[in-house]
Symmetry: C2
Subunit: 427 residues, 2 copies
């Protein structure tokens, strides 16, 4: 990076090195690689604060340093790489995502956004371009939430929604503490965790869904993140013999669970709750014997809605439905526990427009779409103008699976749009 | 037992020693006793052909021999104790049940019938009574079916419905062979397994249901055993992200499983299938993560109906329902596997009437009721006039659970009725 000012007085089309981007993705994917029996492919398991995550972080830091970035780490282990701007006192343009993964991951989820942002910096270096505003590449800690139970953890603390103490005291299934594990891998940094709001935050991410591919777009402009609600419902019934117990005397916990599953799908299909999505991903009944009426059933209910008011109506309806279940099965008891709840987060129109304009200039048609999944960007949206660039995924956008795949061309397209947007915003 | 003939020329009311019966039940229950954490009670685990079952069998054999019975064991390990009759050439009256248990059993299931029949013999001995026909006490092998997968195994082979080879080749979860385990515990007997049909077969058993207690009867006259059908249904769907995947593109295996569970209950409630009972005791979904649409679900469907024709209609309807499931979720695949199927078995009117008459003479009101559970008696019904005496159970007749309990008075009532019936039939 040169120190002589080289202001961009006219638009410089920044050329992204697609091969170098792809090679970076492949090299990072070797950390935590494992043979996935279910798919026959090589997957990635680089869960938050494991040794593999530590190795991935160290690789990222080395790449950041090679690219001339000033690397700092905050109290949550969030990693920042700063590229100085001509006017260092200005708020930076921030771009990134996460490099922690689920247990059965592919190479792109989160990593595309971090390595894409890094590749933008390398391209600026290659072109000898200085930007007015500083640019910061960020990798947030524990975005997936699979190990310590709360997703978007690093970005949520940085944005001030959750406290450092809350995060440090989270434990995993082996009762290991987040704070202890962070120290163990050597990423409990000194930089203050509460983030000074950047000028803007842009995140490039794979879509993790089928819409862009179905509609024929490589690039999507993300309008916001849906409201997300998770609850665990436990049904307590009465164990009884399948043959000898009259039906009217049963309190069948499994039946009640099934009624809930069917009802949430009916709610979606009714259209009364807008674009509600409902998923019961986990079902467990006990004792689980063919000739015994189940006395216990546990399910998780995952609701999503781009509209907060309709989400509230859906949740109220579900609550009433659950409360009424014992009427048809006297003796049945219903327990619910909220596991997570986030409101719909609209992204900045200004940043969305910037992304769309950049894509257009680069020759990419785009469509606007909501994000069905949670992202660090939704935390950043609370403190700075924020939006996301979605990249089309193959195989219906399957993610959290080694089959997760976006083509080199589509990855290049997404990072090119990201680059142009960053350059615009940092001008 | 005296050798001088002592024919019963007039009705001798046989007095059953209730204390001795209760003590026998308690002593047998010590074999395989364990501390059941779920209930805080002592339960019994004396599964078929385990060391505990071997010990239980040896205790029974010693009691049989003490009672002067000639003990033989057949190729299935079924244990027979014969009390000679005045006319040894006549077909005997047979009474018994099973002493193998489920993993979390009480003291009464099956044991009441075997030790009750033994107690009848002891009472005949005490009274110095000789019967015209011989009397045989029997304990059938592997009635529960929990270890080797097929219930009423010993009685089914004796009755000729299943072959010895079929039984010998059954394996348990540890891949141990029935035939090998039978030899290991020393109960592979020499008596020919195919049973000469007895004159009659009577079995005293706890109800394992709530009806007698609800209706205020200590004793029930059992009219037959319901048709029983078990199938395993496996749903194959498509794993997908709960947030990003549009509902219309999902093949949700868990939803399909829930729809089946709700439908079989609707079938029962509709009344179209008579006294159908339906239970889905086992539900498992995969991968079981809150934000992933399940791509696999396994359930068991247990159907019961006293009417074979209505059972067939119910099964046909369910088959059509399963076949139609992919219409609402393209890509869903449904697989079914039949695990067990037995036709309704009506018991002999003559033996039912004999039981009812005996109960009446002893001062017990009775009601007639169907057995919801399978019993060895249903196998015997194929080769000899058969019926059962049900004894009221406490706590809604809970069974397969250490809480299983019938009072000493009710047990005495049941065995007294059994005794009187046996005496009548062997006269």
């Amino acid at each position: 990076m040169t120190t002589a000012p080289n202001p961009q007085t006219e638009k410089t089309r920044l050329r992204i090195d697609g091969d170098r981007l792809w090679a970076s993705l492949a090299e990072l994917a070797e950390i935590g690689a494992y043979d996935d029996a279910a798919t026959g492919l090589v997957g990635v398991d680089r869960q938050s604060l494991t040794d593999e995550d530590g190795d991935g972080r160290r690789l990222l830091v080395s790449w950041m340093q090679e690219a001339g970035l000033e690397v700092t780490v905050d109290g949550m282990g969030n990693i920042f790489g700063r590229r100085e701007g001509i006017q260092p006192e200005l708020k930076p343009v921030m771009a990134g995502s996460h490099i922690d993964t689920v247990a059965t991951a592919g190479a792109f989820d989160g990593c595309l956004g971090v390595l894409g942002a890094l590749e933008v910096v390398r391209a600026l270096n290659d072109a000898g371009i200085q930007t007015r505003r500083p640019i910061v590449v960020v990798a947030w800690t524990e975005e997936e939430g699979v190990r310590f139970g709360t997703d978007m953890l690093g970005s949520a603390v940085a944005a001030g929604r959750l406290t450092l103490d809350y995060a440090y005291d989270l434990v995993d299934e082996a009762s290991l503490r987040f704070g202890d594990e962070l120290e163990r891998i050597g990423f409990k940094g000194m930089r203050p965790t509460r983030l000074d709001p950047p000028h803007a935050y842009v995140e490039c991410h794979i879509e993790q869904g089928p819409i862009l591919a179905q509609r024929g777009y490589a690039i999507g402009v993300v309008t916001g993140v849906q409201a997300i609600s998770w609850q665990k419902v436990t049904l307590h019934g009465r164990a009884a013999h399948a043959g000898t117990t009259p039906t009217e005397l049963r309190a069948d916990a499994g039946l009640a669970a099934a009624q809930i599953i069917v009802e949430v799908r009916r709610m979606v299909n009714s259209g009364e709750y807008g674009q509600l999505r409902a998923t019961v991903g986990h079902v467990r009944t006990s004792p689980g014997l063919p000739s015994v009426v189940p006395d216990l059933a546990e399910i998780t209910v995952d609701l999503r809605n781009p509209d907060d008011a309709l989400m509230a109506e859906a949740e109220a309806h579900l609550e009433a439905f659950l409360a009424a279940l014992p009427e048809s099965q006297p003796g049945l008891r219903v327990e619910t526990k909220r596991m997570a709840k986030t409101r719909a987060v609209p992204f900045s129109d200004e940043i969305q427009n910037a992304i769309e304009a950049s894509a257009k200039e680069l020759g990419y048609d785009t469509m606007r779409l909501m994000s069905g999944a949670g992202h660090d960007a939704q935390e950043m949206a609370a403190i700075a103008p924020t939006a996301m660039v979605f990249v089309r995924g193959q195989y219906d956008g399957i993610s959290h699976n080694p089959r997760e795949y976006s083509t080199p061309e589509d990855c290049l397209a997404g990072v090119s749009v990201l680059a142009d947007t960053i350059v615009e915003l940092s001008a």
